[in-house]
Symmetry: C2
Amino acid sequence: MIQNAIKKVASLLIAVTTMGNLMAQELKMPTLDDLLPGGETYRYAENIYGLQWWGDVLVKPDIDRIVSVDLKNGKETEMLTLEQVSAMLSKNGINVNLPSLQSVKMLWPGKTQMLIPTRTGYYVLDWKSQTLVAKQEMPRGAANADFNSESGNLAYTIKNNLFVNGKQLTDEPNGIVVGQSVHRNEFGISKGIFWSPQGNLLAFYRMDESMVTEYPLVDIDARVGELTPVRYPMAGMTSHKVTVGVYNVKAGTTVFLDAGDPTDRYFTNITWSPDEKSIWLIELNRDQNHAKLCQYNAENGKLIGVFYEEQHPKYVEPQQPIQFLPWDDTKFIYQSQRSGYNHLYLMDTQTKVYPEKHTSDGGGQYIESLQTKQLTNGNWLVQDILGFNTAKKEIIYASTEISPLQTNLYKVNVKTGAKTAINTEEGMHRAQLSASGTHLIDIYATPTEARKIDVYDTTGKGLAKAIHLLTAEDPLKGFILPQIETGTIKAADGKTDLYYRICKPADFDPNKKYPAIVYVYGGPHAQMIHNGLRYDARGWDLYMANKGYIMFTLDNRGSDNRGFEFESATFRHLGVEESKDQVKGVEFLKSLPYIDANRIGVHGWSFGGHMTTSLMLRYPALYKVGVAGGPVIDWSFYEVMYGERYMDTPQSNPEGYKETNLRNLAGNLKGHLLMIHDYQDDTCVPQHTLSFIKACVDARTYPDLFIYPGHPHNVSGRDRIHLHEKITRYFEDNL
Amino acid sequence: MIQNAIKKVASLLIAVTTMGNLMAQELKMPTLDDLLPGGETYRYAENIYGLQWWGDVLVKPDIDRIVSVDLKNGKETEMLTLEQVSAMLSKNGINVNLPSLQSVKMLWPGKTQMLIPTRTGYYVLDWKSQTLVAKQEMPRGAANADFNSESGNLAYTIKNNLFVNGKQLTDEPNGIVVGQSVHRNEFGISKGIFWSPQGNLLAFYRMDESMVTEYPLVDIDARVGELTPVRYPMAGMTSHKVTVGVYNVKAGTTVFLDAGDPTDRYFTNITWSPDEKSIWLIELNRDQNHAKLCQYNAENGKLIGVFYEEQHPKYVEPQQPIQFLPWDDTKFIYQSQRSGYNHLYLMDTQTKVYPEKHTSDGGGQYIESLQTKQLTNGNWLVQDILGFNTAKKEIIYASTEISPLQTNLYKVNVKTGAKTAINTEEGMHRAQLSASGTHLIDIYATPTEARKIDVYDTTGKGLAKAIHLLTAEDPLKGFILPQIETGTIKAADGKTDLYYRICKPADFDPNKKYPAIVYVYGGPHAQMIHNGLRYDARGWDLYMANKGYIMFTLDNRGSDNRGFEFESATFRHLGVEESKDQVKGVEFLKSLPYIDANRIGVHGWSFGGHMTTSLMLRYPALYKVGVAGGPVIDWSFYEVMYGERYMDTPQSNPEGYKETNLRNLAGNLKGHLLMIHDYQDDTCVPQHTLSFIKACVDARTYPDLFIYPGHPHNVSGRDRIHLHEKITRYFEDNL
């Protein structure tokens, strides 16, 4: 019945479109396989893989050829073919089967050289002389490879040890990890190898986690269930110890930064000074309320000085390494949300401040030992520094200045402070800058456009779009899709605007009553609604809306891109304020005439799994059905870095841990709650869900349970379809 | 509606009963708490705890006094009070708080001595002289204590080591277990300590399981999920090695039986010769198709001889130690199912047979080195030797001679072979013999009687009931209960009779259509239907019948008490023939006019969980809903001793393991199947269910899952109510 109705409406929609080629064919109902990554018929939006700058020359590799693109008229000129490159490799004795040129990197402006990274090695070819400039081979099992384009040095890890140019640098036992990301990827850390600018020195992380309790994950796919433990430091417990080493390639020696006892300290955001003589990093105490910008001598490891400090009674969270100005080695950009929003601060290493300048601001304490100038300002935040225009002394960056749902591109002049928008159009823009910063590739999506790629001239007054490279077709073209809208409601504090997204069936009838499902995440560093394609509505949202559910999502306080106060409203009792905001969302839903107030469900994963469980237990009258995936149940089972930032420790915040421990609310369960956990979940360990199940058994309440063996945190790949079919059936059976 | 109807019928039932005291009150609907062990209101049938023989004197301890009972008229004479015993203990310097006399043992006929076992020690008091005859104290953590009443010696274990009279005999590392049951309690083994008749020597098991793969069970109740591994030898894999030690208490020395390399050998049914000079045991090869009765010299450990051998192409399964005749140390009873049914064989150590006598029978090969005489015979089986009447040279035993659903008591004269029934009445009888065997306590239940206790005179011709001690009230008196019937149908082989039990709602209306649920076990060594109270219908059967379900159970081929052919019909493909028989049961159900053929469910645990899953997958059209608890999914994940007996090894029977691996049938799932597993299940490890879930995800089928953390195999105690509420809801929601 619904199917027929949708077909009817779909025909109407077609009738009013101008897409003539669609007129003849009927819209299809998409399946989960069409809608979800991992599905057999899922398609990603078209893209130009490998698009890059060779200095200021725009280079577009394809599978079988590389062309340069004229920035004035978009005309393409062939530079090389796959056949030619393969022949050059072969001629130089390199026996690799190169399937495509899309992975080739033109790293050397002005030089006719290209880097060819493969699984077994890195090769630098000069395509003019057809010679092999450099070659670095890697054994099987190598990971985290980092090739330095200046020196040609290659660093990588095998298991828990570090190698450079084929030489093993460390021989650490199990429990000590070298050259990999540390501190569980918090504080903006994503890697453990840091080449100096000229590639003569290699800074690297060494993490001793031998003192960290192992969580016993089990692989049931082995002949006999096999232990695959993870070192998992839980809130309030003994954590790992991180140190930073510096390896001198020529000398073959290693020096460790002389930072003292590393217990309960975080070393983040490692940056080399342009002259390679020192390393800058931001140190944070375990309580995460005191950050220090430190400079260390790279040769002897000694601390040169602490040049900036931030303290805040809640927390400080440095996430970006400092960036030196390309035209002035004595100045760098520090990113801080001391104003309440992340902004750019220019610091000058040559004008030291004696005595240090102490400031109080927004509850925080700041100590400046270098002359500091705020470059951007406002109730919006800088999301990323994209690069520099050296000639004009400009920083190009991305920000939310237009709207928290937007990412647009801007430039700010370091000397004058003048700020100019590069684009202001709706959408989510990210960019790749050319070497001199005169041009950028703008890759963006809008609510109605899957992907577009334009090249801008950043130098002119008009910030002209130079050429247009791609308009990707909607990968769901030809399918029946719901109507999607966004809007704002007030948070539970009565004043803050919160953004929501609502998806209605294609054949929406305002006179009918619909069941509604809230999809929730709700945690820090994530935002579910942007002005990207379909306002970021997920494939499953579309699927369920097509089935006749109103799909609703609200970015509550605590979520991303709204500044520190908004995020930290949840401090020391994660999930409580967030849940109150989500209740406002349900109240809004219930105010809509077409919502069946007795049929409201909720689903989320990870923090969203916590939220789902929290909402089902704190507001049992509001939600009939919930599906919680990979939830946090008890923050004392979560890891130290993320958990203690927001919750402090169980020892110092017992009441907060008690209030947010959902086991204590297990007896409140009234509706249907399906708990899903991955058996290899090393982010939210299975103990969360299993201990909750035990609490419900103790309290004689009746949640349902499902486990996905073989998957870590969340279910990806082919099994993602099974997961969503499972979730769908649960709502269909119970809502 | 059903409630009202039941009340109406209940009133009718009351009207026709003669229980006047019930007339006034209405029958109540029992809850799960009323019906299941672990429930808050569950009651066991009344019993006489501690009832025992002091020689031929019947002694009845109670909480606060011990009486002797006159066997002629039942008159009770007070022997001792709790106050007196406590005073005697205190007077002798023993400071234990004795809460009851029910644990007291009168072990010494003719002597006025009693054993008082407590958690911290064993005390022997002479109540005439009021003196302490013996004292053996135990430290905390002591387990498996065994007090020898002849010598006063006490053996016990602490963790994995053995102690005698407070002295530590062994100091083995983790992975070696001494003094405890071995071979996973198969082959009738239930303990690891064996005192010689006079208590001068102690035989004990030593099991080296350090070479056995550990299965990683996880305790999620710890601060951080904690590994609690079990050594679990899986089918076809490396198994543990068992040896037998003999400790001489006076000499303080230990000798091990010189049995050679213990790899892949089972040493079972240890018995002492009456003169303490030798140890008899039955040795079995890993393939379990060759048993040898061996005698070892207890002083030097040397093998004296192999006196009897059984071989069978399927398996042989010795489950009972030999028993020497009390009146003749040269003869013993061997129990064997070589005739197809377990029977008693008299063997004479003095009349050795040269050369040994070789016999073939029922597919088996037998070698007798001692003169052997079969004492019982027939298509029924001896279940237990209860004792002897030395004066009359009689063996008293329990058998199924009257019916496979019955246990009755018999005696056979060893000299004449004359067999006499002690009782033939309906019911399940078990007995305690007096020292001379002239009297026995018969404790029994019948389909309508919860427990009765009578004392018989076994000597008279009429086998007179001497006195009647107890008629326990039905613990479910006053509750609405279903109608329960038994009957037989033919097995899938077309010839074998199978017993079934059917429970119908109290207000059963033959003109209505009822959904039906099959409760199944189906595995060896278990029988779900006996002539015990309500034909063994379980509390949950009663509960569901009260809710309007027809509850059905069928003991298929492979189950207990029907002889070797019946049991071994399943050899090398467990679950397949059993499932065919269960289908016959469903066909029978569907032939009943009042069964709704489209609403048939199935539930079982352990082997019954395997059966449930097997039936849901092999016959998806027959069963709409299944709940499988703690199932075996793949016999290669099950342990060596039980598994290889019926399945051989995965190496030698790959096709059988493939056929019975339910993962291979995961794609067949059509109905609703809830899989339940205990997270601490060390019998069927969680890998069974979790690997099945993975197979279903791979096959895109949709079972449901629940896990009980903190429970081993099956859910007992308070949580058993939760389990059955969970199961009930699943059938109510889906059937």
